[in-house]
């Protein structure tokens, strides 16, 4: 046991002291904080600051109602000839010319948008939306609907999703917030398992190619060496995760206090308090509907998600999933002489992880309580990712417990399996290993 501790210590310290570890640890939260800052920034300012000025030449006899300007596009109706305006566009202060010919109202064709620069998809979409609205309004009015009715039809809807928690209490939630958390957790889990699993494999290959392995195993049992390495690297992963959380929160807090002005901060608080309200129920719903800041909504829902529980479960599944996969990576590392030979063995190990990743971020986020989600979070190959993705949506306690139990049995199984291959593989030099060979090693005695 003492020997395993020594090995864990070396594996841990030799990695934590590396420059690349320090750089990764400090740079990643900066990047995350940067993204977070951008989201805040845009939720305040709006993504497009610039207003495009569009000259409208309307030759259409039916469409007499004018396009309404909004904060992104200003429409100005001009009474000039299209050709003339085109020639002088560079000198004028218009960004674009919108030409509406005398088209059939049921078949709008021949509309042109000409600018000094190519109009982007967003602008294109905005303008065609405006024209479509205009045509629809025209048609609706023609069929006898009054202007007041028409105005009443227009409403802006933001849905405040809620769920009844385990305690029977209504909880504020937002599909958006859950999805964001689910994505982040899923991607992080995938990254962590991959990154640290491969580190185990590299470590084993390094010991094999540098031939220290022979010296080591005359002092310790191969199983001790393998477990020491796996546990040591797991602790590196946990250290990094912990530092990321601490650093991300502190850098974000710092950045907010420096870069976000007081007025903006008030705006954020106002928008989120608007959503919060004091009375649950309809009042809140109306408040939410009035609020046009999705940021406040997400922010509030984030507070309602049990982040502590999510982090604890994440750590469990990281450890479980990592142990499950890293043992397999250790077995691969022991069977080869260099990293270039690992390809053929990596595939079968990577596939279930990739599959779990892809399905979790598509099927599971769409239907977090469905059959696919359930089974993915039970099978130990995919459970680590699938379960942390499901978690923000809420998972029944017994499912969580069952999935954890299966994962524990799973990693004990892979560790045992991998150890039998590892103890033979590390002593095989220069032989090209195959799956057949590895099965043979598995059955070796002693």
């Amino acid at each position: 046991m003492n020997k395993i501790l020594l090995i864990i210590k070396r594996e841990y310290l030799s990695r934590v002291k590396k420059k690349s570890f320090l750089i990764m640890t400090f740079l990643t939260p900066l990047i995350i904080a940067g993204f977070y800052g951008l989201i805040i920034y845009f939720s305040i300012k709006g993504i497009n600051d610039k207003t495009d000025k569009v000259a409208v030449i309307n030759e259409n006899k039916t469409l007499t109602e004018k396009l309404a300007s909004n904060k992104n596009v200003t429409y100005e109706y001009v009474d000039k000839s299209f050709e003339n305006l085109k020639k002088n566009l560079n000198k004028s202060d218009y960004d674009y010319i919108l030409y509406l010919p005398d088209f059939n109202i049921d078949k709008p064709e021949g509309i042109e948008l000409i600018g000094t620069k190519q109009a982007g998809l967003t602008l294109d979409g905005r303008i065609s939306d405006s024209i479509e609205d205009l045509i629809r309004d025209y048609k609706l009015k023609k069929s006898g609907i009054s202007q007041t009715d028409l105005d009443n039809l227009k409403s802006k809807v933001s849905i405040l999703t809620k769920k009844i928690g385990n305690t029977g209490k209504e909880e504020n939630s937002s599909a958006g917030a859950s999805t964001i958390i689910a994505f982040v957790a899923g991607v992080l889990m995938f990254m962590f398992i991959m990154l640290y699993g491969v580190q185990v494999m590299r470590g084993v290959i390094e010991e094999k190619t540098s031939r220290i392995i022979e010296i080591m195993i005359s002092s310790v049992k191969p199983f001790q060496l393998m477990m020491g390495k796996i546990i040591g690297i797991a602790m590196v992963g946990l250290t990094q995760f912990l530092l990321w959380i601490i650093l991300t929160f502190s850098i974000s807090a710092l950045a907010v206090s420096i870069f976000v002005s007081k007025e903006d901060a008030k705006k954020i608080v106002a928008s989120s308090s608007q959503v919060t309200g004091t009375n649950p129920g309809t009042q809140q719903f109306q408040a939410a509907a009035r609020s046009d800041s999705p940021f406040g909504n997400v922010q509030k829902s984030l507070e309602n998600l049990d982040l502590g529980k999510i982090i604890a479960v994440f750590v469990f599944y990281f450890l479980g999933g990592y142990l499950f996969y890293s043992a397999l990576y250790a077995a691969i590392g022991s069977a080869v002489d260099s990293e270039t030979e690992t390809q053929q063995f990596m595939m079968p190990v990577m596939m279930p992880l990739l599959l779990g990743y892809a399905l979790s971020l598509s099927v599971v986020t769409n239907d977090p309580y469905g059959n696919v989600a359930f089974w993915l979070s039970m099978i130990p190959f995919t459970a680590p990712i699938a379960m942390v993705v499901r978690l923000p949506y809420g998972v029944p306690g017994w499912e969580l417990a069952l999935s954890m139990a299966i994962l524990i049995i799973g990693f004990i199984g892979t560790v045992w399996f991998a150890a039998r291959i590892y103890r033979v593989g590390i002593l095989m030099y220069g032989k090209k290993a195959s799956f057949k060979e590895m099965v043979k090693w598995f059955w070796y005695k002693g």
């Binding site: 020997k3 020594l6 090995i7 070396r10 030799s14 390094e206 010991e207 190619t209 540098s210 031939r211 220290i212 392995i213 022979e214 010296i215 080591m216 195993i217 005359s218 002092s219 310790v220 049992k221 002593l427 030099y429 043979k440 005695k445 002693g446």
Partner: protein, 298 residues
């Protein structure tokens, strides 16, 4: 002190060791010889408990070999290396602690040995900055740092220049004088003759020869002598011996001859003294190299 009894080790498709038995005596240097692929490394891996035999047993100091013995054995493998990115001092300390030494004790011993092997200033150097020969020194040190009772060296001199090979050889002899037992696996027969008390020769998974080096060599004596002399006689028609070989040397002639019947070396010498001036007279004893080649070729 170490008794290997009827060891059999089977790998898929081939038998690495076939009923091998040998005895290593306390305080001796034991040579384990054999061509490549004979099974030496397999045997060493069983003694160091890296692998287990299919049948047979190993007795260490009267006890069946078990994990308590790991710290009493030092092993320098032929395929050896170190962690490239680790500092030398830290590395030897790590290996010593894995052999059960405390940090304080290990540090003390490492300092002592670093000075003794003239590598006192290397503590903070990284392995990747050292030459191969320098790395060998560190590996040798890591093998003996925990004062094991039995030290197993697999090709210990490969990669050393003559000066450092000599340094290591003297350390081996010094440790041996203090009572440490050695098993010494090598192809270099001159170092076998120089160092080993006993040997075992393994070929094609079987032990084909063992015993004390002196005895083995004695049994290969075949009454052949070599003489250098000045004089006219060619000894072509002597009835004491047959001349096997004639040659010219720097200041005279040289012949190799084999005694006939029951004649002794003294008889031959007495006869020759009467005819020529003798400069040099010696028995021709086959070297371990010759014995090795003869056995393996058979």
């Amino acid at each position: 002190m170490l008794s290997v009894r009827n060891i059999v080790k089977q790998y898929a498709g081939h038998r690495a060791l076939d009923d091998v038995s040998l005895e290593v005596e306390q305080g001796k240097i034991f040579g384990l010889l054999g061509p490549n692929g004979a099974g030496k490394t397999s045997l060493i891996r069983i003694i160091t408990q890296i692998t287990a035999p299919d049948s047979g047993e190993v007795i260490f100091n009267g006890q069946k070999l078990n994990s308590n013995h790991i710290n009493q054995i030092g092993y320098l493998p032929e395929e050896r290396g170190l962690y490239k990115k680790m500092e030398i001092g830290e590395q030897v300390l790590y290996l010593a602690k894995l052999k059960g030494l405390s940090t304080a004790e290990a540090t003390k011993r490492i300092k002592y040995w670093f000075d003794k092997l003239n590598i006192g200033s290397w503590w903070n150097k990284k392995v990747e900055d050292l030459s191969k020969g320098m790395q060998q020194k560190v590996q040798f040190l890591a093998t003996i740092i925990h004062n094991p009772e039995l030290i197993i060296l697999d090709e210990p001199f490969s990669g050393f220049d003559p000066v450092n090979a000599d340094l290591i050889k003297n350390e081996i002899l010094e440790l041996n004088a203090k009572g440490t037992t050695f098993i010494f696996s090598t192809h270099r027969m001159e170092s076998v003759e120089e160092l080993c008390d006993n040997i075992a020769l393994i070929d094609k998974s079987k032990k084909i020869l063992d015993g004390a080096v002196v005895d083995i060599k004695a049994s290969y004596r075949n009454n052949t002598y070599r003489i250098e002399f000045n004089g006219d006689d060619n000894f072509d028609n002597s009835n004491l011996f047959d001349v096997l070989e004639k040659s010219d040397v720097k200041d005279g002639k040289c012949i190799k001859f084999k005694l006939k019947g029951n004649y002794t070396a003294n008889d031959a010498l007495a006869y020759m003294i009467s005819k020529v001036n003798i400069n040099h007279f010696a028995e021709v004893i086959p070297s371990m190299n010759d014995i090795f080649i003869e056995h393996v070729k058979r």
